[in-house]
């Protein structure tokens, strides 16, 4: 067991799989000699060489298209889209190409690749470098969508994503890169589609993803200490596959559901979870399902405004305590 940063966990997860399988290759802008704009690929070029860790021009369509062509014909590429906002530039591949390959060809070929991308806000980059875009991918049949919150999960889920035979969009949270956590030694392989209960509780369930997980955990501690509310915190870890069993099990125990999302409110993933719970566990509920989200706005750059937009620990505490005591 060693303490590792989220950033170093990305490197360790990739290195583990590159060591194991020569078909795993990496492409992206500035990922090789420069080690990535977030330094999340530092050392991989030196370790695996220019053949396996390759810089590309600023050509997002070519990056994802080439990754797809290589994946279809036998490699296991990891393609980096530097900031998740840029996925919009090459969305054809995410929406029309990767996910439909297997279905349209009646199973003749698949597209086993990983798109890694720096997702999320909180670092004052403004509206075109700060978005949480996991919903963009979630709605498309054929994709898998992952967003880990801790270094240990990054290593294990990265390995699982690389070994998966479907295209996986892997959201690394920009504001979490510097955070640290204990990571077990040796090879780690996690399982996609498994949520984790990070704090047990009996009064309500808080479902969160990525940066909203540590904030929800902090909020849960305050809720318990200051308001006597025992919240159970569920880290979804992946949106597709979605671990509805854990969500429904938790709601059956607590009777209340809050979702905490960084993405803007309209059509956020929390709406899907609310819908599933309302459909399938309505009689377990003791009150309304409440979504805590960023408002339906682009993110501002000003620090105090960005802090107001993205759900904060205080906002989570205030909203949960008001609803629970209301």
């Amino acid at each position: 067991m060693a303490e590792l940063s989220y950033r170093d966990a990305v490197i360790r997860g990739i290195a583990q799989e590159m060591e194991r399988d020569e078909r795993v290759v990496m492409i992206g802008e500035d990922i090789a000699k420069a080690g990535g704009v977030f330094k999340a690929t530092v050392g991989l070029y030196d370790r695996f060489g220019p053949r396996r860790v390759r810089d590309t021009p600023i050509s997002e369509q070519a990056i994802l298209g080439a990754a797809m062509g290589a994946a279809m014909t036998g490699l296991r590429p990891i393609a980096e889209i530097m900031f998740s906002d840029f996925i919009a530039v090459c969305f054809d591949y995410i929406a029309n190409e990767f996910p439909k390959t297997r279905y349209m060809t009646n199973g003749q070929m698949g597209c086993p690749l990983v798109v890694r991308t720096g997702n999320g806000g909180g670092v004052r980059f403004g509206a075109q470098h700060s978005q949480s875009v996991e919903n963009w991918s979630m709605m498309i049949p054929g994709l898998k969508v992952v967003a880990p919150s801790s270094p240990a999960d990054v290593v294990g889920l990265m390995a699982a994503a690389i070994r998966d035979n479907d295209p996986v969009i892997f959201h690394e949270h920009k504001a979490l890169y510097a955070t640290k956590g204990e990571v077990p030694d040796g090879e780690i392989i996690d399982t996609l589609g498994t949520a984790k209960i990070l704090k047990a509780g009996s009064d309500c369930t808080i479902v969160a993803l990525a940066m909203m997980v540590p904030r929800s955990l902090e909020a849960a501690a305050i809720l318990e200490r200051d308001h006597g509310i025992k919240a159970e915190v569920v880290d979804l870890r992946s949106l597709v596959p979605l671990d509805t069993r854990t969500i429904l099990g938790s709601v059956a125990k607590t009777g209340r559901l809050f979702t905490v999302e960084e993405n803007p409110r309209l059509c956020g993933w929390g709406a899907e979870i609310a819908s599933i719970v309302a459909d399938e566990a309505f009689w377990d509920l003791d009150g309304p399902i409440v979504r805590i989200t960023t408002p339906h706005i682009p993110l501002p750059a000003a620090d105090h405004l960005e802090d107001l937009a993205i759900p904060s620990v205080d906002r989570i505490v205030a909203r949960v305590s008001r609803v629970m005591n209301g």
Binding site: A66, A67, G69, Y93, T105, N106
Partner: protein
């Protein structure tokens, strides 16, 4: 198929020919079969036995056929929604193709793909892409894999003149050039971007040829209606790619005899234009070429008769095939064969 008989009759006269009579007969056979199969597709549309849409390449057969003959079995081809010809040219059977157009169980993808998504991995037909330009970077990826693993296959990527204005075209050309990828880009310039003359939307004479220099590539503009010309160009470009000398961008000038799609009567074409191009019909050119090379009229007639017989036979097989089975609706969304996105 009495191709062998025809070969024997004319081998001596063609001994010094760089293409050779066997390949010439293959080039003609493919062009005729593609023509007949696409004409049948049109007829089946008229009978409402093919639904949806379809993009025929009547008049453009020489390009697909020539590349089909020039490519090795393991080479990979990437085509567009106008991809019937390229699919047949790799050796996919007519019943598989017409069956897919008719959305029957016998089709290539058992009806799940349709006319615009023909794929046959076993023949190296790595998909027909219905978003203009998307497949150029994908072909680069296949070429990258070949280069990375030291495998000898070349990726050949077909697209229309309209594609040359999309970003992916330029990204792919740059990418292939800097990585020296074994890929051959083939622009079939049929003069129209869907309904609009290509010259109204580009500032240069040759949509692909004039842009090749921007990626350090040679300008190659050829007569796309002469299968010999296309074959020689294809062979050279594929050999160059296989030798590790990087990509080529070929612009083959041609003309589609019908509209963009089923819905398009092509009324925008100036009068006389179609007639002029019908004079340069690739089948007509190639029939004359075979005659010049001493191929007997009987041999040519036998190829034509055999093609018609194949199309008739395939049509009957397809008509007798059941529609795509209902259980296919939810198969193969994910690699486990199913569609489950939750536990």
């Amino acid at each position: 198929m009495n191709r062998k008989g025809g070969t024997t009759a004319v081998t001596v006269q063609s001994a010094n020919d760089d293409i050779g009579i066997e390949k010439r007969l293959e080039l003609y056979r493919l062009q005729v079969e593609i023509r007949d199969c696409e004409k049948r597709a049109y007829d089946l549309f008229m009978q409402n036995l093919i639904k949806g849409t379809s993009h025929l390449s009547l008049g453009q057969e020489a390009i697909a056929a020539a590349f089909g003959v020039a490519m090795e079995k393991n080479d990979k081809s990437f085509c567009t929604y106008r991809g019937h010809a390229h699919t047949l040219a790799r050796g996919v059977g007519m019943e598989k193709m017409l069956g897919e157009l008719m959305l029957r169980d016998v089709g290539l993808m058992r009806g799940k793909g349709g006319s615009m998504h023909l794929t046959s991995v076993e023949h190296g037909v790595m998909g027909s892409y219905a978003i203009i330009g998307a497949h150029l970077p994908i072909a680069c990826g296949s070429a990258w894999r070949a280069q990375y693993l030291g495998e000898p296959d070349v990726a050949v990527c077909f697209f229309g003149d309209g594609t040359t204005n999309i970003g992916a075209f330029h990204e792919a050309l740059n990418f292939a050039a800097i990585w020296k990828l074994p890929v051959v880009f083939v622009c079939e310039n049929n003069l129209y971007m869907e309904y609009t003359p290509i010259h109204e939307v580009i500032p240069v004479e040759n949509p692909a040829g004039d842009r090749a220099g921007a990626y350090g590539l040679e300008k190659i503009v050829i007569d796309g209606n002469d299968a010999d010309v296309v074959f020689r160009t294809a062979r050279a470009a594929i050999e160059k790619a296989r030798a590790g000398e990087g990509p080529s961008l070929i612009e083959a000038l041609t003309y589609r005899h019908s509209g963009h799609s089923r819905a398009d009567p092509a009324k925008y074409r100036p009068s006389g234009e179609l007639e002029k191009w019908l004079e340069r019909d690739p089948l007509k050119i190639y029939r004359a070429r075979l005659e010049e090379h001493g191929v007997a009229g009987d041999t040519i007639a036998a190829i034509e008769a055999e093609s018609k017989r194949k199309v008739d036979e395939a049509t009957e097989v397809c008509k007798a095939s059941p529609p795509a089975p209902v259980e296919l609706l939810t198969t193969d969304v994910y690699a486990d064969g199913g569609w489950a996105w939750r536990n």
